[in-house]
Amino acid sequence: MSAVMIARKVRKWEKLPGKNTFCCDGRVMMARQKGVFYLTLFLIMGTCALFFAFECPYLAVHLSPAIPVFAALIFLFVIAMLLRTSFSDPGVLPRALPEEATFIEMEIEAANGNVPAGQRPPPRIRNVQINNQIVKLKYCYTCKIFRPPRASHCSICDNCVDRFDHHCPWVGNCVGKRNYRYFYMFTLSLSLLTIYIFTFDIVHVVMRSVDNGFLNTLKETPGTVLEVLVCFFTLWSVVGLTGFHTYLISLNQTTNEDIKGSWSGKNRVQNPYSHKNLIKNCCEVLCGPAYPSVLDRRGLMQEDSPVSFTSAAPSSSSSSSNPVSQTTKTTAPLIPNEHTPDDAKPSIAASAEKSDSPKEELPPAPKVPPLASPETDAEVTLAKEKAQ
């Protein structure tokens, strides 16, 4: 058996499943489609550059030098929040390793009992009671886990994300538990910046027009027209978005839950996560603990592991032998990407953009026989037996 030894150290991010791109040796994590994110950056920086070039010299002299200073501070804060939102791990849940996936499968089978041949087995749902409310946990066929409450699978990034809010193309990343507060601060500060620039644009035009006349002013500072246009359209969308998220935070809801109408009050279901207190809800979402990333991106992959599965031992349950007995590596295996059932995946950008960026070169997945897929749900036992 010839083993090819890989000379260089491989970090775990290189072998992670899912459609994320990583930069800076795993420190930066984004979605694949980044075009709109670059547009966002360009719009913000471009508008601010025009503001500093055209408005600030005049206003600093005629009104107050504090104006450009504040503008610069808000601008820096906006960029910091944007980069923080875009580059951080939104709260991705790593996929189940084969043993865990098998364990869950065995539990499901045991719970289902004997399904008569030809009949569909019941859907994979677990019920948990949270604050006197029954919450259904769905099974994710791609990640092979029962999703924790409030988690959802993002089809664009192909990951389950904890406290999934939505996938935002403007920041080029999912918004989830770990980066929601940065996203909110971004929209809030961007609203502030937009209002600030818009206001001072108007002030500047008015002041100049008093001296020179309106048309001359526009000729002297053509940048102002552009800025006003950008700010006008941005204002409606961003301020509206900030207002919407403020409403969600006060109720401790996610965009995902709002769109699906999970806690809309039908059938007397109420939000079990809300503290029924505005201040408490805001504090929990914005000032809660900073959750760590559970996705180990920068750890080193082990090439030789001291533990090996004994494929000979007839360990598992009576129905099926352990499908993982073939592999001897305990490194994070690549579970082949399966398409999740296409239920309504709420994302603010409803139209999935075609990715024109070059495909990431993911190393080929080892042939782990799929444990389950939604299409073959009816023949799940048959499929497993065939796969052995």
Partner: protein
């Protein structure tokens, strides 16, 4: 538990790992048990304290429950929303979260304590019984994975695992 190669810096740890390494070399992995999350109190991190049937012959119920309860307490401490977390949050916001580049968050501090605690528990109680507890953070905080080892010498009969049905009752 990932194989951490003991470096020269881990002077003391080398001797303790020796026991766990021995465990790995002389025993073979027979089965794994996964302790699931307990969501009855919301989305905060808690694990079920129900004693799995596979461990019945391997470890005392009380020891296992103590371990899980202590872990639950650690996580509750990390996720507590109170004066300190507000202060941390507000301070971080004012500095545009740049302060996290220099400062360790409270959660990270507690995670380090948890890692140490699990290692202690493994050395003191679990490894001598042929068990190994994996830190939940290495499994996405979804499960506590307990690996059950059998002596290579004994016949590879790992019974107990066939009846998983017992643990599905919710």
């Amino acid at each position: 538990m990932q194989a951490r190669v003991p470096t020269a810096a881990d002077g003391n740890m080398a001797t303790e790992f020796h026991n766990l390494q021995e465990l790995r070399h002389s025993a073979s992995l027979a089965n794994k048990v996964f302790i699931q999350r307990d969501y009855s109190e919301g989305t905060t991190c808690r694990f079920q304290t129900k004693f799995p049937s596979e461990l019945e012959s391997r470890i005392e119920r009380k020891l296992f429950e103590d371990t899980v309860k202590t872990l639950n307490n650690y996580y509750a401490e990390a996720e507590k929303i109170g004066g300190q977390s507000y202060l941390e949050g507000c301070l971080a916001c004012v500095t545009a979260y740049l302060i996290f580049l220099c400062m360790e968050t409270r959660y990270e501090k507690v995670l380090k304590k948890i890692a140490k605690y699990i290692q202690e528990q493994n050395e003191k109680f679990y490894a001598p019984r042929g068990l190994l507890v994996t830190d939940p953070i290495e499994r996405g905080m979804r499960v506590i994975e307990i690996s059950i080892y059998e002596d290579r010498g004994s016949s590879g009969s790992s019974s107990g695992s066939s009846s998983v049905s017992g643990s599905t009752a919710r």
